[in-house]
C-alpha cells in the first residue's frame, strides 16, 4: 500500500514536471528562409539559425525559396499566416525581395536579413552581411600572388540577381585589373552551381586550353571548375573560391584548390536570431540596420582549422 502511494506520488510529480515543461501556449515561432540547402553554405545558415532559435526557446520554421522571388513571396505569406514573430531571410534578389520584406513589415513581422542585401533601407530590421568586397579583395590578392602577377585566367561569376555576385566580381577586378599581365580570357556566370560550372569550364577549356588560373565567385562553382580541370588533365591550374565550405577545405588540404575566403555563415545566422530575439523581447531593432562582417582568407595554412563555415582557433 505504502509502495503504491509512493508510486502515485512519483507519477503525480512526473506529471507536474511535464506540465511545467509544456506551457499552455506554444513557443513563439521564427521563420528561417534561405536558398536551397543543396549549397552547404545555405544549409549552414539554416542550421545555425535553427539551433540558436531553439536554444532561445523558439519554434523554428525552416523554408527554402530556391532563388525564386515568387516562391519567396509565398513563403513570406506562410510565415505571416503562421504568426511568426520574426523572419530570418537570405533573400532571393536585391530588388525583387524589397516588396516581400515590406509585406512582412506591414504585417508587423520584422525581417532580419543575412548574407545578401536588398536595395532598400528602412524595410528590414537588420541586414547582416559578409563584407564581400573585403573578402573578394583577400581572395584576389592571394590569386594574384599565386599567379605571379601574370598569365591567362578565367572568372566564374555567380547568379546575377544576387548582389554578392556583382560585388565579388568587382572586388576581384579592383585588385586583378591593376596587373596588366593578368589576362582574363573568359568570364561566365555559372549561377553558383557546381554542375553548371563543370560544363562551362569544359567548354571554356576547349576554346582556351592555355589557362593558368580560375577565380570563382563561390566554392560550389570552384569545385565544379576544378573537377573539369582535373578531368582535362589540368589539375595544376590555380583555382580560388569563395565561401569556405568543407568541400573546398578538403580540396585545399589535399593540394587541389589553392585558396578560398571564409564567410562566417554560421555565426552570421546566429547573430541574426539573437537580434530577432532582442527585438521580440524588447521591441528594439539593432542600432545599425546594415552590419558588415569581415571575411577571412583560407589557404593551406589555416584550412585544417575550418569546420562548417567557422574557423576554430
Amino acid at each position: 500500500m505504502k509502495l503504491t502511494r509512493r508510486t502515485t506520488l512519483v507519477a503525480f510529480a512526473a506529471l507536474l514536471s511535464i506540465g511545467t515543461a509544456m506551457p499552455a501556449y506554444a513557443a513563439d515561432l521564427i521563420a528561417i528562409i534561405t536558398p536551397s540547402h543543396d549549397n552547404p553554405f545555405f544549409k549552414a545558415e539554416a542550421v545555425g539559425a535553427e539551433a540558436k532559435a531553439k536554444e532561445l526557446g523558439y519554434e523554428a520554421l525552416v523554408l527554402v525559396h530556391d532563388d525564386d522571388a515568387n516562391k519567396q513571396s509565398e513563403l513570406i505569406d506562410t510565415a505571416i499566416g503562421r504568426g511568426a514573430k520574426a523572419i530570418i531571410l537570405d533573400n532571393a534578389g536585391a530588388d525583387a525581395s524589397v516588396a516581400a520584406v515590406q509585406k512582412a513589415k506591414d504585417a508587423g513581422i520584422p525581417s532580419f536579413l543575412i548574407d545578401r542585401e536588398i536595395n532598400a533601407t528602412g524595410v528590414a530590421a537588420a541586414q547582416i552581411v559578409s563584407n564581400n568586397y573585403q573578402g573578394a579583395q583577400l581572395g584576389a590578392q592571394e590569386f594574384v600572388k599565386l599567379m605571379g602577377e601574370a598569365g591567362n585566367y578565367v572568372e566564374l561569376i555567380g547568379k546575377e540577381s544576387d548582389t554578392n555576385a556583382g560585388i565579388r566580381s568587382k572586388g576581384y577586378h579592383d585588385v586583378i585589373d591593376e596587373f596588366p599581365d593578368l589576362k582574363m580570357v573568359a568570364a561566365q556566370s555559372a549561377n553558383w552551381s557546381q554542375t553548371e560550372a563543370y560544363s562551362k569550364m569544359e567548354s571554356i577549356l576547349q576554346a582556351n586550353p592555355d589557362i593558368k588560373g580560375v577565380i570563382s565567385g563561390n566554392d560550389t562553382m570552384a569545385m565544379g571548375a576544378y573537377a573539369a580541370l582535373v578531368a582535362a588533365g589540368k589539375g595544376d591550374v590555380i583555382v580560388v573560391g569563395f565561401d569556405g565550405s568543407n568541400d573546398v577545405r578538403d580540396s585545399i588540404n589535399s593540394g587541389g584548390i589553392k585558396a578560398t575566403v571564409l564567410q562566417p555563415a554560421y555565426a552570421q545566422a546566429q547573430m541574426a536570431v539573437e537580434q530577432a530575439d532582442a527585438y521580440i523581447k524588447t521591441g528594439k531593432a539593432p542600432a545599425e540596420e546594415k552590419q558588415l562582417m569581415d571575411c577571412v582568407l583560407i589557404t593551406a595554412e589555416n584550412a585544417p582549422n575550418l569546420e562548417t563555415f567557422a574557423l576554430k582557433n
Binding site: 564581400n132 573585403q134 579583395q137 560585388i167 572586388g171 546594415k290 552590419q291
Partner: protein, 214 residues
C-alpha cells in the same frame, strides 16, 4: 555632403524619373544610370582637402604611440585614432604618421610598397603602399563621418573605398620617385588596420614626402 549622397542614392534607385531633380545627365542603360548618378571619385575629390586631410591630421599620432596604444587596448586606441562607429566585426583602423628612413622597397610589383624604419634601428617597422595597385579600404575605414548605412549597397560602398586609393595614387604616389629609395627619409600621413599575421603593418598613405638622396 551626405545629404547630397542621399540624393544621389535616391536618384540611382528611383531611376530616370527623379534624375532631373538632381541635375544628372540622363543615360540609357541601367548600369550607366548608376554610374552617372553615383560618382565616388567626385565625392572623394570634394572632401579630400576640406575634410579627409584635416581629419587624419587631427586624429593621427606617431607610429610608436599608436602601436603601443593599439597593443594595450585596441578599442580605446581605435576610438582615439580611428573611427569609433566602425562595423562591429571589422578590425580597428588607425590614423598614423610615420617619420623615418626607407630601408626597403618593392617597386617591381604593381602593388608597390616601401618599408620604413621609424625608430632608427635599421629594421623596417611599417610597410607603406606605394601604388599604383593598392589594397584594402583603410583610408575610408578610418573616417568617422563615413557610414555604410548611407550607401545603397556594398558595391557603392566598395567603390567609394577604392576611390580614396585611386585619388592618392593619381595625386600623390604617381608623382614620387620609384628608384634608389633606400636610405632616403619618408614622412607619411595615412591609416592602417591591425593585422594578425606576421607581416609588417600595411599603411595606406594619404600624404607622402620622400627626402633627397643621402
Amino acid at each position: 555632403m551626405f545629404k547630397r549622397l542621399t540624393c544621389l542614392i535616391v536618384a540611382a534607385t528611383a531611376g530616370a524619373l527623379s534624375l532631373s531633380a538632381c541635375k544628372i545627365l540622363p543615360t540609357p542603360s541601367g548600369d550607366e544610370v548608376d554610374a552617372a548618378a553615383f560618382n565616388p571619385d567626385a565625392m572623394v575629390t570634394e572632401i579630400w582637402t576640406s575634410r579627409v586631410i584635416p581629419y587624419l591630421q587631427a586624429k593621427a599620432a606617431s607610429f610608436a604611440e599608436v602601436e603601443a596604444a593599439a597593443k594595450a587596448d585596441p578599442e580605446a586606441a581605435g576610438t582615439k585614432y580611428g573611427n569609433p562607429n566602425k562595423q562591429a566585426s571589422s578590425p580597428w583602423t588607425y590614423a598614423v604618421t610615420l617619420d623615418g628612413t626607407i630601408v626597403g622597397s618593392n617597386t617591381k610589383s604593381r602593388a608597390a610598397t616601401i618599408d620604413v624604419d621609424v625608430d632608427g634601428d635599421g629594421k623596417a617597422d611599417a610597410r607603406v603602399q606605394f601604388g599604383p595597385a593598392m589594397r584594402g579600404t583603410s583610408l575610408r575605414d578610418s573616417l568617422d563621418f563615413v557610414n555604410f548605412n548611407e550607401f545603397t549597397n556594398q558595391i557603392d560602398f566598395a567603390q567609394y573605398g577604392k576611390a580614396f586609393n585611386t585619388y592618392v595614387d593619381s595625386t600623390v604616389l604617381s608623382k614620387l620617385p620609384r628608384e634608389d629609395l633606400e636610405g632616403r627619409t619618408a614622412k607619411v600621413l595615412g591609416a592602417y588596420s591591425t593585422n594578425k599575421g606576421s607581416d609588417l603593418p600595411l599603411v595606406t598613405p594619404a600624404e607622402v614626402e620622400i627626402g633627397p638622396k643621402p
